[in-house]
């Protein structure tokens, strides 16, 4: 019987083999290629890149394949790889105003400069299973116009801001050069807004979705409107020390959401709309919107609102948003705890013995009377 807890080494080796076998599945079915995952499971790739904090489509696809489609496991794989990469500096802040947008909508104005562009969205699909996808059927390519790279899309927020109706971007949104990096330094509280946004950008989509939803149901309501959502390509610029001027090093896809929220004003400030901000890699609208709702909720103290709801509680939100941390700690309960449990057994047995002894004594006393 004692042998049962030994032999861990062989058991682990066999477990790894079994896992690899499960991952591959039936050898009669063609193996997935990374290109297929990247092309046809693109939104899964986007989520893994976002929460994995690493923009690399093929690595994210590899992680998804290795994790058998378990996206949190894939995020973990990508994070563990990312942490080993050398860092050679910070890019310049992205200029999402210069985005070549595939999609851009505002729900605050019927029309905005640059127009409403629906782009590829599930929003107006009827959620009917498309059985033609179950069969092999190629679809004809969708007709598209060539992207107009000269068209600029002024931000809806900027237009409102000029009028004084919307606050300027909150402190810390502009780069001050010395950026804090949550993946290099521990989280300290209270956190600056850039650190908060980093945390939310890496945070679990489901967690942020639930928190954002809770604000809409009255737990810290801040009356949100989608000022703007845009998704498209933006260039990444970097200033190498030896050059001294910016060069473009990449082009990435991002989804940006700017929420416009009501603010009643205070003693010194007239009523004005405020902002909540969300940004995610790839096409991740649900994530970007949830992030923007939670970002705004976390500004409660700064805006002298009473912070009474979970979504407004900085420590609660920031300490529990990370799904790699949460998943690890929840699942560590699978590890052996014989020793702690033994200590508890000893304590509980002793306590029970005392209570039983008292009961016996009471019964004896009663019989003696």
């Amino acid at each position: 019987m004692y042998v049962a807890v030994k032999g861990g080494e062989t058991a682990i080796a066999h477990s790894l083999d079994l896992l690899a076998d499960k991952r591959r599945g039936d050898r009669g079915v063609a193996e997935l290629t990374l290109e297929q995952i990247g092309q046809q499971l693109g939104l899964a790739v986007d989520r893994v890149m976002t929460e994995g904090s690493c923009y690399d489509r093929s690595l994210a696809a590899l992680a998804i394949k290795q994790a058998r489609g378990d996206l949190i496991e894939a995020i973990f794989l990508l994070r563990a790889y990312r942490t080993t990469l050398p860092r050679f500096g910070d890019s310049l802040p992205l200029d999402t105003g210069a985005m070549v947008a595939e999609r851009r909508i505002s729900s605050t104005f019927k029309d905005v400069p640059g127009g409403q562009v629906l782009g590829p969205t599930y929003d107006y699909t009827h959620r009917l299973l498309d059985f033609s996808l179950a069969a092999d059927g190629e679809r004809p390519a969708a007709p598209t116009a060539p992207a107009d790279t000269n068209r600029t899309l002024p931000r809806v927020g900027d237009i409102l801001e000029r009028e004084g109706m919307l606050e300027p971007p909150p402190q810390g949104l502009q780069s001050d050069g010395a950026s804090e990096d949550l993946t290099r330094q521990p989280l300290t509280l209270p956190a600056s807004r850039p650190v908060r946004l980093q945390n939310l950008a890496r945070g679990d989509e489901g967690f942020l979705l639930a928190l954002g939803y809770s604000t809409q149901r009255g737990y810290g309501n801040n009356h949100p409107f989608v000022g703007e959502i845009r998704y498209g390509h933006v260039p990444v610029a970097f200033v190498p020390e030896e050059l001294g001027f910016a060069i473009e090093i990449a082009e990435i896809d991002v989804t940006e959401c700017e929420m416009v929220n009501q603010f009643a004003g205070s003693h010194d400030v007239p009523p004005q709309f405020t902002r909540g901000y969300g940004l995610a890699f790839g096409h991740s609208e649900r994530k970007a919107m949830s992030m923007a709702l939670v970002d705004r909720a976390l500004r409660a103290e700064e805006l002298s609102e009473s912070a009474t709801s979970p979504a407004q509680d900085e420590e609660f939100v920031l300490a529990h948003s990370d799904n790699v941390e949460a998943s690890g700690f929840v699942q560590h309960l699978k590890l052996p705890h014989y020793v702690d449990f033994q200590s508890e057994l000893v304590v509980v047995r002793a306590l029970r013995a005392e209570v039983e002894a008292r009961h016996r004594q009471a019964a004896l006393d009663q019989a003696a009377e």
Partner: protein, 287 residues
Amino acid sequence: MTENNAKDGAYNYAYLDEQTKRMIRRAILKAVAVPGYQVPFGGREMPLPYGWGTGGIQVTAAIIGRDDTLKVIDQGADDTTNAVSIRRFFANVAEVATTTRTEEATVIQTRHRVPETPLGEGQILVFQVPIPEPLRMLEPRETETRTLHALSEYGVMQVSLYESIARHGRISKGYNYPVMVNGRYIMSPSPIPKFDNPKLDRSPALQLYGAGREKRIYAVPPYTPVKSLDFDDHPFEIETWQQCCELCGSKDSFLDEMIVDDDGKRLFVCSDTDYCERRRTPAEAAE
């Protein structure tokens, strides 16, 4: 990770890059200078899950060198699956000698136990810590608990121990029993059974505690007083068993309990596998 990743240069020695190791060493130095104080550090994502020893692994990775001999235990045993996994990780990425013999190890990474064999000078015991904050279950906010430590304001802990006595007639805490380090900081000894607490007191070995998910490192330098919290009329006491180890007959080691048949028959054996095997070996040899 495949077994030859480290050897073909895909990863740095002991996995972490040298910058990160330096950052962790600085945190360790600070922790040693202020015994029991939790030093925040820039914990990294490790290729093992949070909660499975990433803090201990980072500490070990930052201090280990090719001359070291590493022992890894979980629940006192060298052969539990997670201990095997961590030992394999270091054998792979740090090309380090490993051992199960307590006195041969220069670095011992542990989860939930302190070895029964007394440690000596020059040895380092690295603890894996899930929740570094001893006050966490009394006060969930980090911003609050840091202030309480700064002010040595430990009333909440005393009250919670008192409440336990008032309710149960004794301090009903079996593991992760809080200690006072060097008369200054209350510290979580990690979830070791209170049986092991006396071994921390004035130990000649260096004790390093790593919490990866919570990004904290703390330490107890050699020969530092570590006192388990108690009251004059309710002194600290450790677990005892009526049984002795079924395998080696030890009467003074921490025993694990196993259920061996459907009727619930129990078997008690040492949790420290190295200690138990060594006690049996000379007896076997003498036969």
